[in-house]
């Protein structure tokens, strides 16, 4: 279905290593306009390295990467890319408000200039999209893990990107935040955004995912429709052996666990 559409991300034969250890060993991955692609795999499979390479933060030892049809080396139009790095646990040395952090995402458009009314409006919209507008003046240090993640996604959205690249946006995120983020992402997809995201399990985002790419030891081992089962169950090689009775019609619905 997406084959005839223009590729937004085109990774071909990409290899990269951290130190002397090869992390990517010839990865091919194409994301077409409007697609939502999930990159799955166990820890150490290279999925994080793959998205960091796609935004030019990991040098390739072989292969090529193109963004919007331009080789990465010559790519300059970063305002079209919204990046959500893997959440760092360490807060920075000086407090910052939610709005200050989200405004940093707008620098992709303002660069070295001063923000105008349109820029402030975009920051406010991004905050509303993730339901954090009422916390704009609070310190990010006072937020929960899920709220912090919402702020980082608002930061990426503040630049009004055409392409969202997210590294584990759902890691350590509470249920409420997961649903808010799924909603925000649905809005972006509805307006035609392209999304590549690293996930540990499909979870709340499952209905949005068009295609899943599974990495193992730096190689693509699956590229196609998202697996039916969730999380580790999705990975090839997972034995569906459960030590309990086959479940009856419905799983437990207690709402206690996420």
């Amino acid at each position: 279905m997406p084959a005839q559409r223009e590729p937004v991300i085109a990774i071909s034969g990409a290899s990269a290593s951290l130190g002397s250890r090869p992390v990517l060993r010839g990865v091919d991955l194409t994301v077409s306009r409007g697609e939502v692609v999930a990159l799955l795999g166990a820890n150490g499979s290279g999925k994080s390295t793959a998205v960091r390479a796609a935004v030019g933060q990991v040098p390739l030892t072989g292969g090529t990467i193109e963004l919007f049809g331009t080789p990465l080396k010559r790519y300059r139009d970063w305002a079209r890319v919204g990046y959500v790095p893997q959440r760092t646990t360490a807060a920075s040395g000086v407090p910052a408000t939610v709005r200050e952090v989200v405004s940093a995402g707008r620098l992709a458009r303002t660069k070295l200039g001063w923000p105008g009314r349109a820029d402030r409006a975009a920051v406010h919209r991004a905050l509303e999209l993730v339901g954090m507008a009422d916390r704009a003046k609070d310190s990010v240090n006072a937020l929960s893990g899920g709220q912090h993640q919402r702020v980082l996604i608002a930061r990426a959205l503040a630049g009004e990107p055409d392409l969202l690249i997210m590294d584990e946006p759902m890691a350590g995120v509470d249920l409420t935040s997961q649903e808010v983020l799924a909603g925000a992402l649905r809005d972006q997809v509805a307006t035609g955004a392209t999304v590549l995201l690293v996930l540990h399990e499909l979870g709340a985002l499952e209905p949005l995912i068009d295609r899943a790419v599974v990495l193992r030891d730096g190689c693509v081992v699956h590229d196609g429709p998202p697996p039916e089962a969730v999380g580790q169950h999705a990975l090839p090689g997972h034995d569906h052996v459960h030590p309990h009775a086959p479940h009856e019609a419905e799983p437990f619905r207690t709402g206690l666990l996420t």
Partner: protein
């Protein structure tokens, strides 16, 4: 205010005001990326510059600025490589700079280590008229940069990888931070002293963030605290014969302690307000697929 009648005192107060503004301004960015000790390192390296100035019979400020810039750019290059051995390389640079300064000053005709003392701890009587011109020019550059580009510098110091992906010239901005820190060290050299300059970059920021929640607020309050303690410290040493740097730094620590005491109930109040807002249970009524428990 008879102390204003003395020309040396007027010069000292002008220099103190500019130190109070510039040191916390660049210090905020250094503290933000946990590089608080960088000012200390540049101070050590600048000692070689001061000694070179003596040796060459030029104003030590310009030579110190030059050597401090070279040193700070070297430190930035070590930092951006991110190697573990960078720690050792920085130590070499710090102590090499200090030892070089002491060595060179003793090579200068009738120079001795004593000449370096006022540069180490600051002195209100040593601000020469030509120093005031130099300090004003250098301070203007520091303030224009740290205030004018605060959004960009904030982004770079807060999350460098993200800043690079927004397309900001991160390497250039990092080099500018290093150069600005070096310039600030030489602005502060006369009043606060090379060994205490780092304190003026760090303590006002640490004091300000006891009561602030945002970055711009911290930057502004740190500069206000900086000016206050720099001026009062300078005036104090007019009456008490002591190095001005010592008085200024002790006052800064006093402000930090006062704000730390004030901030404890403030932080508790804010935490309670947040907790109260989140205490209510908001059950959405509809269950999503993620409410399922799989066993």
């Amino acid at each position: 205010m008879d102390i204003l009648d003395y020309a040396f005192m007027q010069r000292a107060l002008i220099a103190a005001t500019l130190v109070g503004l510039t040191a916390p301004a660049i210090g905020t960015y250094l503290v933000q990326r946990r590089q608080a000790i960088m000012g200390d390192g540049i101070g050590h390296v600048a000692m070689t510059g001061v000694a070179l100035g003596f040796l060459m019979h030029t104003n030590p400020i310009w030579m110190a600025t030059l050597v401090a810039i070279v040193g700070s750019v070297a430190m930035e290059m070590i930092r951006s490589r991110g190697k573990t051995s960078g720690d050792i390389a920085l130590a070499m640079l710090f102590y090499g700079g200090m030892a070089g300064g002491v060595m060179i000053i003793n090579l200068a005709p009738n120079g001795s280590t004593a000449n370096l003392l006022t540069y180490m701890f600051g002195s209100i009587t040593t601000v020469a008229p030509e120093d005031v011109t130099a300090i004003c020019a250098l301070a203007a550059v520091v303030i224009a940069f740290t205030i004018g580009l605060r959004r960009q510098l904030f982004a770079v110091c807060q999350d460098e990888e993200f800043a690079r992906v927004t397309g900001l010239p991160v390497r250039l901005l990092n080099l500018l931070i290093a150069v600005t820190a070096a310039v600030t060290v030489t602005v502060a050299m006369r009043i606060v002293g090379l060994l205490l300059v780092s304190a003026m970059m760090v303590i006002p920021v640490a004091a300000a963030q006891r009561v602030t929640r945002g970055f711009t607020a911290t930057l502004g309050l740190a500069m206000a605290i900086g000016v206050t303690v720099a001026l009062s410290g300078t005036v104090t040493t007019y009456y008490v014969d002591a190095p001005s740097g010592a008085a200024i730094v002790l006052l800064a620590i006093a402000v930090f302690l006062v704000l730390a005491v004030v901030a404890t109930p403030l932080a508790r109040y804010r935490a309670r307000a947040v907790a109260a807002a989140e205490a209510e249970c908001t059950f959405p009524g509809t269950r999503g697929p993620s409410d399922d428990v799989r066993v």
